[in-house]
């Protein structure tokens, strides 16, 4: 089974090394991890961003499943590029797994960064009076439920690891789920 390895990991200073570690974890389970940086792109070319897009999309089309790193990125939700890719894979009918190294629920995370209060009707709102989604889920319900229906529940640690960008324990749990699925057993 080929698995597309989505996540803001590509933005890490040691992104290539993380990709190697993730692919090695997949290989130990008999799976093939496809990491975006495996695509050779000339970053100095004027159409570099389009080349990255096309490379990523071709990888996704070649994969049967995705493991998305939904650890919150520059705000209370997951990285936009990763979320787009999870949606794309769901739309293509692929198997969807994901993890987040932050086990906090979304409403709590928003409350940490924005002035969250209760509106007259009793629901949570932010400083712009926009509703804060409050279903006890770790991120937006579209991502959470697509995982429930198309792969497995979002994997989160009991508490955030010391290094949220390099700890691969939750990732390994996703790989185990994928390996079980590939072996035809339910998990």
């Amino acid at each position: 089974m080929k698995i597309y390895l989505a996540g803001p990991d590509v933005f890490l200073p040691d992104a290539v090394e993380i990709g190697r570690r993730k692919a090695a974890i997949c290989a130990r389970r008999g799976l093939t991890g496809l990491f975006p940086l495996d695509n050779a792109v000339d970053l100095t070319a004027p159409d570099a961003s389009l080349a990255i897009f096309k490379g990523n999309e071709a990888m996704m089309d070649a994969a049967e499943a995705i493991i998305a790193n939904l650890t919150p990125f520059r705000g209370p939700s997951a990285d936009a590029g990763t979320v787009y890719e999870l949606g794309y894979m769901a739309g293509r009918g692929k198997i969807c797994f994901a993890y987040s190294n932050d086990p906090t629920i979304y409403a709590e995370r928003v409350a940490r960064s924005f002035a969250v209060t209760k509106a007259e009707r009793g629901h949570l709102i932010d400083r712009d009076a926009l509703t804060v989604e409050d279903f006890g889920l770790p991120d937006n319900l579209m991502m959470i439920h697509t995982l429930d229906l198309r792969g497995a529940k979002l994997v989160t640690p009991r508490q955030a690891p010391a290094d949220i960008w390099h700890d691969l324990t939750a990732f390994e749990a996703c790989v185990a789920l994928a390996a079980n699925r590939a072996a035809g057993t339910s998990s």
Copy 2:
């Protein structure tokens, strides 16, 4: 043509009214706008979030196109739920349009909120040393290029309107693009 109207608009205090305004703009062009809140969901039910998910997915499956509101939401990128839906529609081969009421490029927006510096190799990094995508695009390249290839370039105003959550000028431009597409003319 049925168009799924995605966006954090559903979180506005006057979300139902915004949905009506958007649907009316579509109707004037002979298009049918499908707004998530048109689905009747009992928000007090224990499975309310799953019911919302299923309702939104059914609406997306019924639509031929999406117009996504990618105005930045609680951070430098678009709302995660909306981004997921854009990805899903792209994966399903639907026509993709979107707008953002913030014309700033992504790297500039990140620099406003995070301590962005230049790494030794010359690229921008944030305070965690994670690369800041810097292709001169208004948001993550996956969203921007899927629009270029599957619908039209992200629509942005020359400068942000006074009320970024209620100004529908950029939305109307997307509806015009969709109407042209529905009429079979290129735009």
